[in-house]
């Protein structure tokens, strides 16, 4: 299993907000233990999904130059459980950002119903040993898997593009030009 707790981005505006979706499926193994005969999507994984939505938003705005980690959850509230068959829509908005990190507000909705609400603080870390775990290419790959470049746009409304320096480094043939294919950017 991969540590992906959103399925794809629905909307993405660089430096402002991102909307992502997570479909909860009974085929996911952990639901059979959480809980036997009464599967509930764990709230901790809702937080992880909100953090991935907001974290990638912050990373992208920094052009993947910072090692962004979830530092703190000043406030989290849950209003109802998420069950198999539910589609969670996550919305993360950057409330504040500086050279040290970012504060993000985030919500999870099931349809029109507010399922959870959180404040998330992300920190930029510069510890050299983190380099092994935080590669810009890995974040870029996640952005592509989640379809951020298919739906995203920059603050000026132009299509969201991966940083040219990372396209060159990865050498994967993906140019920073937006494609017109139905699938758009491929992972």
């Amino acid at each position: 299993m991969r540590w992906f707790w959103i399925d794809r981005f629905l909307e993405f505006e660089s430096g402002r907000y991102a909307k992502a979706v997570k479909c909860v499926s009974l085929a996911e193994d952990y639901l059979h233990d959480h809980f036997p005969q009464f599967p509930v999507f764990p709230n901790s994984l809702v937080i992880e999904g909100l953090a991935q939505t907001g974290g990638l938003l912050v990373c992208e705005h920094n052009e993947f130059t910072e090692k962004v980690i979830l530092a703190k959850l000043p406030k989290v509230e849950f209003f109802c459980p998420a069950r198999p068959g539910d589609t969670l829509t996550y919305l993360a908005t950057i409330e504040y950002q500086n050279a040290e990190g970012a504060a993000v507000s985030a919500t999870s909705h099931i349809g029109d119903r507010l399922q959870a609400r959180a404040e998330i603080v992300f920190a930029h870390l510069n510890a050299p040993w983190l380099g092994t775990f935080f590669s810009p290419e890995a974040f870029l790959s996640m952005m592509r898997v989640f379809g951020a470049y298919r739906v995203g746009h920059a603050a000026d409304g132009s299509p969201l593009m991966p940083p040219a320096r990372l396209c060159k480094v990865s050498g994967n043939g993906n140019s920073p030009q937006r494609t017109n294919s139905p699938q758009g950017e491929q992972p």
Binding site: A71, K72, P74, N98, A99, E100, V121
Partner: protein, 130 residues
């Protein structure tokens, strides 16, 4: 221009939101670490909230000069030297360091900052009236 009372009220909101403490726990003499339970990562959160609330910039090490405490020039055997204390006083004119100076153990330094210190710090960054 905010008044001193307005500065205090905004700091109170920032601290209650960042630290999850009750309103009545916030008193001028309360220390951020000892009385209000702040941990190192909370300072990042507090700085975000203060910068946003007052539209100011707080560069790293300005509110809490960690660089002095990790510099061998200013610290010996886990204690801040006289030169180090002078540097801290210069860098933190908003803080009352007299008690800390009596037994300047580096480990105790995080407990120095009080709510009143935070108010003086912010007042030094914004023009206050009244």
């Amino acid at each position: 221009m905010p008044t001193k009372d307005e500065v205090y009220e905004k700091i109170k909101v920032a601290l209650t939101d960042a630290l999850g403490v009750d309103d009545e726990d916030i008193k001028p003499e309360a220390t951020l670490v000892g009385d209000l339970g702040a941990e190192s990562i909370d300072f990042l959160d507090i700085v975000f909230r203060l910068e946003k609330a007052f539209d100011i910039k707080i560069p790293r090490n300005e509110l809490f000069p960690e660089d002095v405490l990790t510099d061998q020039k200013y610290v010996q055997d886990g204690r801040v030297t006289d030169v180090g204390l002078a540097e801290l006083r210069k860098r933190m004119p908003f803080a009352d360091l007299d008690d800390f100076a009596k037994n300047p153990v580096v480990q105790d330094f995080p407990n120095v900052l009080t709510v009143a210190d935070m108010c003086r710090f912010v007042e030094s960054k914004v023009q206050v009236t009244g």
